[in-house]
């Protein structure tokens, strides 16, 4: 998909800093979006009710309410993509926001191009993950079939352990979105293991190695991206 296809989409910007908000609005309008801007949580939720934007850009530090509450209110009603605008020292809040249902984050200061790419990705996945009719999950040459419990790369089966299979399934289900480690732990190990270090990094390393071995063309090289201290993200690949 290209930037042109997402033009015309409605974006809600929630940012309390006047200069940053104005710059964002100008940049987004220049890229062809319809932009509403709110300087606090209450205004943001009013706009949200009235306009139902296609994507929300949310700064967590708001003067009147916790940014996390804004996420909660929006999530109660719709799966609208939410991209967090985060300062570097809001590391833990960033993770919490993702766990509460935000889809992605950009770290301040961010460049215009990075932001545009994130918005495009968010709009793309607004149409749903790469899921086929029989529940198969697809990313480029990679196909995960939950019913038959198998992973194929270019029709060749890849031998994953049950843990690795579950981790890949969670990531693919949320393709394009950042999946926090807590979320992977909950989904794969269950509630009891939430606080334990279950060597997720090592498992992911194994998955990457096995996929790389089955993919000599290197199409899947950057499939699983690492967000240090936060989690993982499966790149949204075009379907073949």
């Amino acid at each position: 998909m290209t930037a042109r296809r997402s033009a015309g989409a409605a974006v809600l910007v929630v940012e309390d800093d006047d200069g940053a908000r104005a710059t964002l609005v100008r940049d987004l309008e220049a890229h062809g979006y319809e932009v509403d801007a709110a300087e606090d949580g209450a205004t943001a939720l009013r706009y949200w009710e009235r306009r139902r934007p296609d994507v929300v850009l949310l700064d967590l530090g708001l003067p009147d309410m916790d940014g996390l509450d804004v996420i909660r209110r929006i999530r109660r009603e719709a799966p609208t993509p939410i991209v967090i605008l985060s300062g570097r020292y809001e590391e833990r809040e960033k993770v919490e926001a993702l766990d509460r249902g935000a889809d992605d984050y950009v770290t301040k200061p961010f460049g215009s191009e990075e932001l545009q790419a994130r918005i495009r990705a968010a709009l793309r996945r607004g149409t749903g993950p790469a899921r086929e009719a029989e529940g198969r999950l697809v990313a480029g040459p990679l196909v995960l079939d939950p019913l038959r419990h198998e992973v194929l790369v270019d029709e060749t089966p890849v031998d994953l352990t049950p843990r690795e299979f579950e981790i890949l399934r969670v990531l693919l289900t949320h393709a394009g979105r950042v999946v926090t480690k807590a979320r992977i732990l909950r989904a794969v190990w269950g509630e009891a293991y939430q606080d334990e270090d279950s060597y997720i990094y090592v498992h992911v390393g194994q998955i990457r190695r096995k996929l790389a071995a089955a993919d000599p063309a290197g199409q899947l090289r950057n499939l699983i991206g690492t967000e240090p201290g936060v989690g993982y993200r499966i790149a949204t690949l075009e379907r073949p």
Partner: protein, 523 residues
């Protein structure tokens, strides 16, 4: 029962078994003296050998004290009178000269006996004093050379137990009875708890000796043990107590023992109060250093902050609609702004990181991660910025146990440094190598390097290698980047080192703790 019966200067506590030796000495020495006197008077013909009895009196005095000496004198008087004075085998004396000498024998015997016994008890007291002084010396030396008071208290309890003949000694610290927590205990059966009668040492101001005051029955069930308690105070504030269990048969500790236990309590109180003062002084020193840091930080950084700001301002002005710049120049201005913002961001990030390290407020969340994974983003950025360098990468190694966010920042700073101080075309090599408990991540370059003398100081904050100017301004140029690296790596349980690289330039080693990985996960 006292473990050392000789150490009981309290002579009144005489038990039957302890009478045997003095009595034996008295009988044997008197008998021997009688034989010698008989021999001298009847065989040799010495007119009045009664003085020989004085030897027996002195011998008895040395083992039996003053009372024994007096008794021996009387016995010697009676023996000589009965056996050797005319009329013999009767207590009557006819010759006034002999009568005088016999009375003198009694008198001299008593005096010499008393002197000898006094000498003996003085020796005993001196020995006891020496022991007391030695015990006190050991105690104060232990506390004076301590690294931590709590460690020494265990030794103190043991020496108080041994020196005072206690069954068990423990020290509890806390401002009042309810808050007292046991910090040292010589051990013994069961839990350390008061038993039998409770005696508390009452201390008076000035010269008045401290005395034991019976407070109440601590516990009925305790058999033949009594409890002794000395409060630990410093500057009038209660800090805790020394507790001791002692056999009831042993009686109340004598003066010397009481002095010792009181001194122990005082010394512990002083040491403890001193520890608290030292803690406060350290906190003040940290606060002072933190202030000094802030001011040197401002000096060092204000220039590095202003320069990019000036560039941004000028470039932004060139983007105004009324500016005369063409499309290419405008694009370059926009690039300048982005680059300078990125630079400022790195600088500010490092400043905040450094202040977090200095403030000790760093939160480290360690996880098991793989280096190539956690550094992927940083390496990607590095590739983009080092198009004119030869980059060698070998990051595959065993997993490490680190905070991924801190590691990425630590690594980025070293890499920024290498990029800033190497000329185009210079090689940069990044490699990971397993080394026992650590995984060594080395970032080395083929640049000009730094003088050997500067190596140890590279990780100091605000240190800049003299005469070395970066090709481009980066966070490394402020003497902050590597300080942050070292702070982060050490906070994660690792260590950093700088050395000369085989490539000719500088090599920085980051030793990161290796992770324990279950066998089934090993590749």
């Amino acid at each position: 029962m006292c473990p050392d019966p000789a150490y009981d200067p309290d002579m009144s506590g005489i038990r039957p078994s302890r009478l045997i030796r003095p009595l034996g000495v008295a009988i044997v020495s008197l008998a021997a003296a009688t034989l010698v006197v008989g021999y001298l008077q009847d065989v040799v013909g010495v007119p009045n050998p009664s003085a020989v009895y004085l030897i027996a009196v002195v011998a008895t005095a040395l083992v039996a004290g003053t009372a024994g000496a007096a008794l021996a004198s009387v016995a010697a008087f009676l023996l000589y009178n009965f056996l050797f004075t005319a009329p013999r085998f009767s207590f009557s004396i006819t010759d006034p000269g002999v009568l005088l000498s016999v009375v003198l024998l009694l008198f001299v015997g008593i005096v010499v006996g008393q002197l000898a016994a006094l000498q003996r008890s003085r020796t005993a007291i001196a020995t006891a004093r020496e022991r007391e002084a030695l015990a006190l010396f050991r105690l104060s030396r232990g506390l004076a050379t301590r690294t931590s008071t709590l460690d020494v208290l265990q030794e103190v309890t043991a020496s108080v137990r041994d020196e005072l003949g206690m069954r068990r000694v423990w020290i509890a610290l806390g401002p009042d009875d309810a808050a007292e927590r046991i910090v040292a205990d010589t051990g013994g059966e069961g839990r350390p708890a008061p038993a039998g009668l409770l005696q508390v040492l009452q201390r008076m101001p000035g010269e008045t000796p401290a005395k034991w005051v019976r407070v109440h029955q601590a516990s009925r069930s305790a058999g033949n043990l009594d409890t002794y308690r000395v409060r630990i105070e410093a500057g009038g504030n209660p800090l805790g107590s020394v507790w001791a269990l002692r056999d009831r048969d042993g009686g109340v500790p004598d003066r010397s023992a009481t002095r010792l236990i009181a001194a122990a309590a005082d010394q512990i109180g002083q040491a403890w109060a001193q520890d608290q003062l030292a803690g406060a002084a350290q906190a003040a020193e940290i606060a002072r250093q933190s202030d000094a840091l802030k001011s040197s930080l401002l000096q060092s950084v204000s220039h590095d902050l202003r320069t990019p700001l000036a560039a941004i301002r000028m470039a932004a002005a060139g983007l105004r609609p009324d500016s005369q710049l063409g499309a290419v120049a405008r694009r370059e201005n926009a690039d300048t702004i982005e680059r300078e913002v990125e630079h400022l961001n790195r600088l500010v990030t490092n400043l905040l990181d450094l202040s977090r390290i200095e403030a000790g407020g760093l939160r480290v969340e360690r996880e098991t991660v793989e280096l190539d994974d956690v550094l992927a983003r940083a390496v990607e950025r590095l590739r983009a910025r080092s198009v004119d360098r030869t980059l060698e990468l070998a990051l595959e190694g065993p997993p490490v146990r680190v905070d991924p966010v801190l590691l990425e920042a630590a690594f980025t700073n070293v890499v920024d440094n290498a990029l800033a101080y190497t000329p185009p075309g210079a090689p940069i090599r990044i490699a990971a190598l397993a080394d026992d408990a650590y995984v060594r991540l080395t970032i080395e370059d083929g640049g000009p390097g730094v003088p050997d003398g500067a190596m140890p100081r590279l990780f100091e904050r605000f240190y800049r290698v003299p005469g070395r100017n970066g090709r481009s301004r980066t966070s490394g140029g402020t003497g902050i980047g590597l300080a942050v690296t070292s702070g982060f790596v050490e906070a994660m349980g690792g260590r950093v080192a700088a050395r000369r690289s085989a490539l000719g330039g500088l090599a920085i080693d980051l030793d990161l703790p290796a992770a324990e990985v279950p066998v089934e996960l090993r590749a």
